[in-house]
Symmetry: C2
Subunit: 233 residues, 2 copies
């Protein structure tokens, strides 16, 4: 792997899911000193925050903040309301339009907070686990979106006026399939048993196995020829 | 004035200060149905939130939400910490570099929330009272920043994928001096006695008259040949 981090601080957005955990391992492997940021945003699968804590500990992050924000005020997403999470859909069906689990402007809000923290830390690099291949149709997971956020960020902050270090939004998974992400993580020694992907887990954190996130994950583990270590209902 | 709003919903970022209040009046005058959004972000001058409520009522907004976010976790600004607010500075001195009252990525976070809400409301227009002339040296008050945010926003949301209404970030004050802003607001019937600009008000809300915000405001009222109706210590 690359080692261009060379001890530099970086902010890593960490949900506790498969993608962001792989990104954290990638950043560590590249030599960055990771500062992890997780959001409690009213998601029904808040159990993922416990996963994020376990993952952060396992990967030796420098510090980990859990930011309370309330995206429920905006409504409209099955992830933050009583709307039903879709189950048992095939991948073709998932990729038809934007699913009801989409949360408006979520990645923009997450990256904005990461930008604020990175400025305080003096970090140039912000890592996010977005992925445009098996991306469930979310607009804010596409490469052109990430590039536009980076351009905006480089005009938004102190560095833009003072000519100091640029902001880099790093999305190392953006062109990988879910299978390739798992293969990368396994090479980097990720313990996927610590992670949590399910949109609709049981109160004790057992994955449903039927929502889009579970189905994409299970199929990708199967393709990678590996067993998924998390528990399913 | 223009009337291109024609009954369309718009999100208006409303701090309760002079600029955002003028913007609200501008949006109403242009025919928009305003939905006002205010942030309680750990600012020492939280009294401005009461001003925002008064202003929202006076201008008949459709609804007004006060969003709790905590920017203190990032540190580094006199507006959100015990660092001393600078006093008695001349305008030249204010415009030398980025002042300690700068809050990292604040407008980016505010606009991101506004973007999320606008998507839920089906609103294309987001109004913000940034101003690049008497702007106190904040990087996220410049036209190139606003344009870059708009470009990003148009790739971030449902409309980007579904080809529906574009997002417009409207910053009608961006090229006005503070004097011109006050003149515009007075023409639109704004009662500036409802507003609050001071960075360091007394607990009962009396403006200090000496911070950068007070000094810019007082000087602009004097140039406009008008009296500032708020109380000063």
């Amino acid at each position: 792997m690359t080692t261009n981090g060379a001890g530099a601080p970086a902010v890593v957005l960490l949900s506790g899911g498969l993608d962001s955990t792989t990104v954290l391992a990638y950043a560590v492997d590249a030599g960055f000193v990771p500062h992890a940021m997780t959001f409690r945003y009213g998601q029904r699968h808040a159990i993922e925050i416990e996963s994020a804590r376990r993952v952060a500990r396992a990967h030796g992050v420098r510090d980990h903040i859990v930011v309370d924000i309330d995206l429920r005020i905006f409504g409209g997403s099955a992830l933050t309301s009583d709307l039903e999470v879709p189950k048992d859909r095939g991948v073709d069906e998932m990729q038809r339009g934007i699913p009801i689990t989409y949360v408006p402007a979520r990645n923009t809000i997450f990256l904005s907070y990461a930008l604020a923290w990175s400025e305080g830390l003096g970090a140039s690099d912000i890592f996010i686990g977005v992925n445009a291949i098996d991306y469930s149709g979310y607009p804010d997971c596409r490469p052109e979106y990430v590039a536009a956020f980076e351009r905006m960020a480089n005009l938004a902050t102190r560095g833009a006026v003072e000519g100091t270090t640029p902001v880099r939004i790093r999305a190392p998974l953006i062109n990988l399939t879910k299978q390739e992400i798992i293969e990368l993580g396994l090479r980097l020694g990720v313990d996927y048993g610590l992670t949590s992907s399910c949109y609709d887990p049981s109160p004790s954190g057992v994955a449903c196995g039927r929502c889009d996130a579970c189905r994409l994950r299970l199929e990708a583990f199967a393709r990678a020829g590996a067993g998924d270590p998390v528990r399913y209902a």
